[in-house]
């Protein structure tokens, strides 16, 4: 009883705390100076239409690097916790014939779509993360549909590691080629044409690496979750 009361009080208190935040809020009508600066710098310095991507990959690239690491950690952690105890066959229900054929037809398409998303991250909405997830969902589809489907763990790890290393090396390249403050600076490659695929310096490359990494990481998360350290 006392616990319910305290829970109620806690919820009430949280509401009370949020109250000023909500009350004083009014939707702004114009951008704040920092956002303005981002927009103009993105367009002018990086030649990148998608300002969000500009921020994610370049200005606040360090966050993204960290984010990729977080995902990497989750993968490692989940794999670590749910690693296979022994090698007994895992019971998995076979999907129906139609599903299997459909899946093996669709999956490559989905993966290609994922690749499209992350290579065009600097131009259109989406990017490495979204593309990575789409890729992973292609693999998920295969996993669901086909009993005998098993992808090479080594390959996944290889892709994951290499893309991660590549990402960091890209970041370091900026430092080496441009200057002291230029860790993660994509401008060591030419700006390129406005709205073309190979523009905005190294952004497409970086985002592709992120996409590959995220895709492989999420695939192995799915794989780990699916097997669940089954005995």
């Amino acid at each position: 009883m006392i616990k319910y009361l305290l829970t109620f009080l806690a919820l009430l208190g949280i509401g009370y705390m949020f109250f000023p935040l909500v009350m004083e809020f009014s939707t702004p009508t114009r951008l704040n100076p920092l956002a303005e600066a981002y927009v103009s710098s993105s367009v002018n310095d990086l030649n990148m239409p998608n300002v969000v991507t500009a921020i994610v990959v370049s200005y606040r690239g360090l966050d993204t690097l960290g984010e990729v690491t977080v995902l990497f950690l989750a993968t490692a952690g989940v794999g670590f916790l749910l690693r296979k105890r022994n090698h007994e066959a895992i019971f998995r229900r076979q999907g129906s014939e139609i599903l299997r054929i459909g899946a093996s037809f669709l999956a490559p398409l989905i993966i290609v779509f994922g690749v499209y998303i992350f290579t065009h991250g600097h131009l259109s909405p989406g990017g490495g993360f979204q593309g990575g997830v789409v890729m992973a969902s292609g693999i998920l589809l295969m996993v669901l549909a086909c009993k005998e489907f098993s992808f090479s763990h080594n390959l996944i790890h290889f892709v994951e590691s290499l893309s991660g290393v590549g990402y960091v090396l890209m970041a370091l390249t900026g430092l080496l080629l441009i200057g002291f403050d230029s860790f993660l600076d994509p401008r060591f490659l030419p700006k390129g044409e406005w709205l073309s695929l190979f523009s905005s310096g190294a952004v497409p490359i970086i985002y592709s690496l992120i996409g590959l990494k995220v895709g492989s990481e999420l695939s192995s998360v799915i794989d780990s979750m699916q097997t669940g350290g089954e005995k």
């Binding site: 004083e24 370049s58 360090l62 690097l65 690491t69 990497f72 950690l73 590691s161 370091l172």
Partner: protein, 1048 residues
Amino acid sequence: MVNPMIILAMFLLAAFATALIDKLSRMLAIGTMYVVFALAAGLGAWQLYFLQSMPDAQTMVYSAGFPAPLSIALRFGVVEAFLITLMNLFGLLGGVYLFKRFKEHGAGAIALYLAMLLGANGLVLTRDIFNSFVFMEILSISSYALIGLKQTKNSLIAGIKYMLAGGLASALFLIGVIFVYRFTGTLNIDTWIAMGNIPSAAYLVALFMVAIGVFIELKPFPANGWALDLYQSADSGLAAIIASVQTGAMLFLFYKLLPLFIPEMLNIFAGAGLVSFVFANLIALRQKDAKRLLAYSSTAQSGLLVFVIAALYLLKLPDTIILVIALGLFFTNFFAKAGLFWLAGIVKQDNLSAWGVLKKDSGLLIIFGVFVIGLMGFPPFPAFFAKWHLVHIFTATKAWIWLAGLLLGSLLEVGYLMRWLGFAVKQEHPGELSKSFSKMLAPMISAIFLTTASFFLIKLYPGLGAFNVYPLMALLLFGLVDYAPAKLKGAIAIGVLSYWAWFMLLPSLPLMGQVFAVILVGGSIAQLFAFMRYNGAAEGFFPFLTMLVFSFGSLITASTTMELFIAWELMTLASYMLILRGKKAKDAALLYIVFSTFGAYLLLFGLSLMPSTYPGYPLILQAGFLSIGWVAALFATGGFLIKMGALGVHYWLPSAYAEADDETTSILSSVLSKAGVFGLLLILMMISSYVKSNSLSMIALGWLGVFTAFIGALMAARQEDAKLLLAYSSMSQLGYIVVGLSLMSHLGWVSALYMAVNHLFFKALIFMAMASVFLRTGTRNMYEMGGLIKKMPIAFISVLMGIIAVSGVPPLSGFGSKWFIYTSLLEQGRYLQAGLVFFSSAIAFLYLYKLIHTVFLGQAKPNQSHVKEAPIWLIIPQGIFIMAIMAISMFPNLITKPLSQAVGNYIAKPDWLSWDGYNIVLNSPALHGNWNGNLVMYVTMGVFIIPLLWLLLVNAKTQKVKQFNIVFAAERPYKPETTHYAYNMFAHYFKALGFWVEPRATAFYQGVSEWTHSISATLARIYTGNGQTYILHIFLYMITLYLLLGVR
């Protein structure tokens, strides 16, 4: 300068590539990780070096080629470089410790561990608030995942609790961040700070949420149930890193945010930190599980650090001071806490009392001792200096509650840590240690690092003289040769100490200092012979004995309050270790150290109120013209009185004296207590300008002394244990010294000092003789002995001389001290006090007779027929002290004149006090009297020798008879046990006076301890173990703080 991005990139590369490298070779993967840590630490050190040569160098680094706030900025200044070096060093050590785990679990574990350190490094470096969030998550998630190293039920549920708490904290943090962004339009911390405070309730709430997010990660009481379970159940190696690296990084983030907080917020966080410090320590007090205790202790320490940085920030102190203090605490805490967790992994025993297994490896035991003592803030560890300055700052700013909380928490901390140390040193346990090179390396290196750093710190600390290092050097050197035979070590120690005392100590001191040097140092050296009686190495004596004696030297020569306090603490520590060496001394030593620490804190507070002194001149020289306020004097006096065992705070004394090794007790009683006298005298000198004999305070002090003497004597008469009896006797005698000092007159101080010298002689003499008796009979209960006069005549003569001297019967010097006390008291008109002193000195006869009769006279016990005289090493000091007593009895001027001269430097000798040959003549208007010790000696010898000759003449041939040849009503006794009237000898006396000997102090302190434990137990109830309740705690805690903040 070093680009910190390189460090981050290095970690990332290694983490990402681990999976591949692991495929090649696991050892290579582990090796790569170690190399990364080493490189990162090296880069940090390099940066430190760089900044040292170029202090004004630019330390801000941007990413992506744009300046902040567009991009993310990192700062790599001095503090950051220091922390980076430290943390990576730690990462390396912790990594080595976890070597086996890595070998077992492979790439995943390695990558997670690397990422954890990456998160910590990033958190320290970054100046961007959202980036902090990201690194915080890296740090947290990697530690979450690593908990899976140990997949037990407890560890898994602890992991879930931890993740939920951490996740909620970061959610709060994130909401706060985004709202602050809304108000400031930036995410860069420096830009925020530059913008100043924004007058809006919503902004405040947002700020509060940012702060509380970080704060909850710092595990404040009571919203820290999850953290406790985590520490308790996680792998020790991991807990070590979480307690040190993770907490350190979070603390630094909190520190970075401080400039944003409004004063009310600082106040609340300081208060919450303090509450956490005090209460977590309080609950830790009753823990029996080592890792859970460490958990409480860790949360307490992080509470302390939050409190310190917030409080100091609130007091608007310069950043450098805050950092120096916080880093001092942090540095010690970092090494010690992690080290203790590591040791917990080696010991593998959860129950505190099982930590006795540490005894199997004395190296580990020493390491453990270093950590525990460092954690408590004893000198020379950095935490000591931090606490010293903290107390001074709080005193200067009159922050009394903070000061009280700080000291209270520290006292509780001392309580449980020392209890633990006691278990480790004293408790026997059959278990095994899980030792391996990789596991031993980390605690070993951190202990060495901590000690070395501390050693240099005290050596280089501004304003500390060389003398302060001697005790530590002695500890170290004698510790290194502790395997040598005791006789060799004893000889070396006596030689070195004598040389030092004669050629270095004495010449540097004024007369009064020399008097104390003779008492403290000389008295100890004479007793060192006794320790040479041990066969073999007798480990554990000489390092601490020499440390103790050297610390006496630094105490007397101290020229600043800091030097005084350092010497005092080192002295306490050394004596504690010596007491702890006794067979059953675990509890007694704990009691001693807790009381001593309490006293030390009183003293610390008193000292913090004192004016600055002139470094280079001994305080005892300066005391004559320094003047301090009465509050300072009151507290410092309290501290010193505890060491002297004054009535009311004497609770520790009997057990500590009784349970220490016999030779140690002798030093404790005859020498160590005089250190308290020294301190008290010092204080009285400093208030002599305005406090006189007839001041109320001094009359009260006098009564305190008198009652100490009275109750001490009564209690002594009641004991059956000879050491307890002597312990209470010491208490009683120190009461006389307090009375003498309280007189604030020339004669009074002379009498106190005379008593001090005398007490040294006769108490050491009796203790040495009794040590021989205990050694030979193997018991301390007097009624189990009897008739030993025939077996141990030398011991009997020593005790006889001793008790004559104690009782004050002429012609021995004891009468001199009685004469001085009465005349000085009567001269000042303290008639009633003199009356009670007389009563107590009469009671002394009771216990003295009991001592000598039941042990040496009466019926000899058959099971003690083998008893023989003690080894020569115990007899040498007896000889020295008998000669000393005879000398000053025969020629009192040897001592009375120098004492009078020494006191005369502070309180001028009155004209009415004069020496006429050996006759001391008192012609004060209030009192006439005289005493000619020399003549009394001759007369006594005359009246003794003449009847003796007569008796020898008429009764030369006496027939020796057997033991039972006594005239006994109609029947022959046949058992010495029933014929030896010894047990409860003064039953009738206590029937009459029972009221005065009821153990009130015992009842009081037991009550205090019981209450403390009950409160502790009640508080601990909030940790129900239910993860959901813990989440509720977090929210309720947050709301409480929010309401306290009172945002409008």
